[in-house]
């Protein structure tokens, strides 16, 4: 006996099985991301004045990544439309662009992550705090922390400080960035005995980076998962197009629905994390 409503929708609901399934799944995803967004808002509102990290993300890169995801959504829906019109070749080209956009997004995100892992904050014994990069024999090390200084048996570190700090207001930061051009590459030597804490911009650095990495890494996993599914349907799964085209079109639509959800999450994440 055939399973009903696999390809054709039910008369009363107008939905086929997979569409009901994907919407139930997306409802659970809304709850997952909704809980994390709520956590972010509660943490942000409850943070002590001047303690919340802001202004440290690369806005042009984030903007470019947003444009990449918007483009991928357009190609997803146009490929589905091409398939509905029976144009399999056009579908193939457009979905290939979608997959490339997904890979591009992940590549750019990993570059952004690396930039964060190279960036440090130093808490000094006199109460001052500096942001910047460590210059270790001409290289910028990743993931150093306070214990690393003892493990490496270092008496001092060469630090290239930024002209700004997140404890400044947005206005003060902007002025410091403008006025600091050309000065930020002058390294200073900090004795290890003067350092109370050293941390790169990793989740352990602060609540902000904790929630930033949780949200963006979870989102990136969804992008990866979506790209794998789209690539499977595009590649080995395309055999179904010859035997059951209606069902194949439904699969493309369902993967497109998931992709749109992932992109919508980013449309909310970008302003919340990068701009506010």
């Amino acid at each position: 006996m055939d399973i009903p409503y696999v390809a054709q929708p039910r008369q009363d609901t107008g939905l086929y099985n997979a569409k009901v399934g994907i919407w139930l799944f997306l409802a659970s995803e809304v709850m997952l991301f909704g809980a994390l967004f709520s956590s972010y808002i509660i943490l942000r509102v409850g943070a002590a004045p001047g303690s919340w990290v802001h202004g440290l993300l690369n806005i042009p890169i984030g903007t470019f990544n947003t444009a990449v995801l918007i483009t991928s959504s357009v190609t997803v829906v146009l490929s589905w439309s091409a398939l509905k019109a029976g144009n399999f070749a056009k579908y193939r080209v457009l979905q290939a662009i979608t997959i490339l956009c997904a890979l591009g997004f992940l590549g750019i995100k990993s570059f952004e992550y690396r930039e964060k892992f190279l960036h440090y904050e130093v808490w000094k014994t006199d109460g001052t705090r500096l942001l910047g990069h460590i210059d270790y024999n001409g290289t910028h090390p990743l993931f150093w922390k306070t214990e690393t200084l003892a493990q490496q048996k270092l008496d001092s570190i060469k630090f290239v400080p930024d002209p700004y700090h997140y404890t400044m207001t947005a206005k003060e930061m902007a002025h410091a960035r403008k006025g600091g051009h050309g000065k930020e590459h002058e390294p200073v030597t900090i004795k290890t005995s003067e350092i109370t804490r050293l941390s790169s911009f990793v989740p352990a650095h602060s609540t902000y980076f904790g929630i930033y990495f949780t949200l963006t890494a979870l989102h990136a996993l969804h992008v990866l998962g979506g790209a794998i599914v789209i690539a499977f349907i595009w590649g080995p799964g395309a055999k179904l197009w010859k035997t059951d085209p209606d069902r194949y079109i439904n699969r493309v639509e369902v993967s497109g629905l998931f992709w749109h959800f992932v992109d919508l999450v980013w449309i909310f994440l970008f302003p919340v994390l990068y701009l506010l």
């Binding site: 107008g14 939905l15 569409k19 919407w23 806005i59 042009p60 903007t63 947003t66 444009a67 918007i70 959504s73 357009v74 997803v76 829906v77 589905w80 439309s81 509905k84 947005a170 206005k171 902007a174 002025h175 403008k178 639509e253 497109g256 629905l257 749109h260 959800f261 992109d263 919508l264 449309i267 970008f270 302003p271 701009l275």
Partner: protein, 69 residues
């Protein structure tokens, strides 16, 4: 809700984001907080918003035979 319907929601959200981001960048630039890149990002973002509105209209026309459910 079909892919067509969620795509329209997505394009509307993207348009609002583009307008908001464009205004944010231009405000920063004209208040003296931003640099030339803010001006370029702001103008680019407003242009993208206009492009998305045009695309939305094209999309509605192209997929007029497909339902929203």
């Amino acid at each position: 809700m079909s892919l067509k319907a969620i795509h329209l929601v997505f394009i509307a959200a993207s348009t609002l984001l583009s307008i908001g981001f464009g205004v944010w960048c231009l405000k920063n630039y004209f208040q003296g907080l931003g640099s030339t890149s803010d001006l370029l990002l702001g103008l680019g973002s407003i242009a993208v918003a206009a492009g998305l509105i045009c695309y939305g209209r094209y999309f509605l026309k192209k997929l007029k035979n497909i339902g929203y459910l």
